[in-house]
Amino acid sequence: MALPVYASPLERIWHYTYIAICVAIFTFLIAPILIVIPLSFNAEPYFTFTEKMLSFDPEGYSLRWYDILLTFGMTAPDAPRGASWWMDVWNNATWVRAAKNSVIIGVSSTIVATVLGTIAALGLSRPEMPYRRAIMAILISPMIVPIIITATGLFFFYSATGLAGSYVGVVLAHATLGIPFVIITVTATLIGFDRSLTRAAASLGADPTTTFFKVTMPLILPGVISGALFAFVTSFDEVVVVLFVAAHDQQTIPRQMWNGIREQISPAIMSVATILVIVSVALLATVEILRRRSEKLRGVTSS
């Protein structure tokens, strides 16, 4: 990207304009995500930077919106903050319950999606797989079909089968939505997979199960984990299916945010948003580390 020495003045101007454009676009990408972080510490119930915040006066900042996440929905929020207070938070606080639901549903649907998706990806990446293209298209389709159509279909189906308003229903739906991501990441890992390794294992007397767990699995594990993380994030972020098929017992964080955004965006929403941004940074970092590890394992060198 460095400017060649022979560049004309016009090209120099263009070069710096180009850099400026790119900086602007990166700002467009990132600023909306970062903006919520300082605002979530606002001491006032406003969505803009108060003068005290701009002058870095500590009084302009507070943790009150984070506190609300704990106290909202509690039976006795004003009780002294001892063990029983925390018990109350754990059992009754609306956001804590939503977080618990999100984790339960996210983890369960990730397990279903990852197990089924990885096994299928193993089959799909075999050269002798019949109707590969058509089957792949079907398996990826949950990612492509508009979510409102999926949710509508599930609403009727679950109502008829009694799955509506149950954890199982939401988990199955989220697993379905997460599967394309698992398939994509795991098959991508398997493309670089050296099949002679499994043959070698077989020729040395390992049965297919041993070969899978001792040879294949360790090599594709990074891909499987990033697929699982994608599936988890898909479920963790999903709100439309929850809106259509979940009962009030299964309110998740995004569902709770949906309520909050439509009715009143208190800065409490931004403290949730901040926490979620931190979660996504952590997940992204994990995926990046795994990707590099996987490249190293498969002997792909960075060009």
């Binding site: 618990k100 983890v107 009030h248």
Partner: protein, 358 residues
């Protein structure tokens, strides 16, 4: 993986133990739901030991209908508007309510005589009278203040964005009244195509300046955020924001459209017996009067009226804030359920088509 499984089972166990609710009540969210929780749910739990779960919806009538038709009812009691109560009842989506389960007034007057006329129907029992009014942020208008329904549609004299409920009901009536139609003639006119056209033509005047809200909690928030300078709203929401949060919001009673809100039990409610118990408890004289401590809606029982006093802050007299107070009824319209039962789906369809076209 194994650890995750154990963790998730442990969490499921916790979640299941906390969700041992016995009656699920679906209502309209925001300060209205708060008033119900304080006046009905908490005392009910204290007296019977039955937990009450409060669930919010933009308009509980639609999820109820969807749930019953899809055969998947999770709600035991729902709070709906009059026309919806009649309609759902007609369609067999509600349990019938035997008036005998309603408690008599403290002085022994039978329930049916104590409730306001029409407040008890085959499938529903009214709790409150509420009103759709318009309200403004007084800090936005330094000189002349809006004081008639026509002012809401007058963006030249009173500049600023407007907000209205996303639906035909109450908007069409208000539009006609703003257009100079006397309250008494509104429904007769709306029965005709010209009347409907005229109402939409009036709405056209402010369409470009209007934000459409869906949940009752939205209008006070839109005013508070400065997104709009005037909005239609349920009067109690504005009252709650003005009194409890000290917002400079003023209600204009001219051209208000008032009606009952009623409790119903959806057909196939999972906890029918508890739901009936709750209904009996929540609609007794004291409970209805108590609710007025939390929000400015008039109780649907004559005997409760006398018990209504101060707001829970102990200094605001509730009387002048009630939709049914004499001073507020000078140019008011009683919402006609006969009209909306029949025309609701048709006019909403037209309203949405109107809204979608720029």
């Amino acid at each position: 993986m194994k650890k995750l499984l154990i963790l998730s089972t442990a969490l499921t166990g916790v979640a299941a133990s906390t969700a041992s609710a016995d009656v699920t009540v679906m209502s309209w969210g925001g300060s209205y739901a708060v008033s119900q929780v304080e006046a009905y749910h908490k005392p009910f739990t204290a007296e019977t030991g039955i937990n009450v779960v409060s669930v919010d919806a933009d308009n509980p009538a639609t999820p109820i209908k969807a749930q019953v038709e899809a055969n998947n009812v999770t709600v035991d009691v729902a709070d709906v508007e009059y026309a919806d109560a009649i309609r759902l009842c007609d369609e067999g989506l509600l349990e019938e309510i035997d008036p005998a389960i309603l408690s008599a007034a403290p002085d022994g007057t039978p329930a049916m005589d104590d409730f306001l006329p029409g407040a008890v129907t085959d499938c529903a029992v009214a709790t409150i009278v509420f009103s759709t009014v318009f309200a403004y942020d007084s800090s936005k208008f330094s000189g002349e203040k809006p004081d008639s329904i026509a002012d809401f549609f007058d963006t030249a004299t009173f500049p600023g964005k407007r907000a209205m409920r996303k639906g035909a009901k109450a908007n069409l009536e208000m539009a006609l009244m703003a257009d100079g139609v006397p309250a008494a003639d509104v429904y007769a006119l709306l029965e005709t195509d010209e009347g409907v056209d005229r109402a939409f033509a009036k709405l056209d005047e402010i369409k470009a300046d209007t934000i459409w809200w869906e949940a009752g909690a939205q209008p006070p928030q839109l005013l508070a955020d400065g997104e709009v300078s005037m909005t239609t709203a349920y009067n109690g929401r504005i009252f709650a924001a003005a009194v409890t949060e000290g917002k400079p919001f003023e209600v204009v009673w001219d051209g208000q459209v008032y009606e009952y809100d009623l409790f119903v039990i959806p057909k196939g409610a999972p906890n029918l017996e508890e739901a009936k118990k709750f209904l009996t408890f929540a609609t007794d004289t004291q409970r209805l009067a108590d609710q007025a401590k939390w929000i400015s809606y008039g109780p649907a029982r004559k005997s409760s009226g006398a018990l209504v006093g101060m707001f829970m802050d102990g200094k605001t007299e509730m009387g002048p804030h009630m939709p049914t107070s004499e001073a507020n009824l000078t140019n008011a319209l009683a919402s006609s359920y006969e009209f909306w039962v029949d025309r609701d789906s048709e006019l909403n369809e037209r309203f949405n088509a109107w809204l979608a076209v720029n």
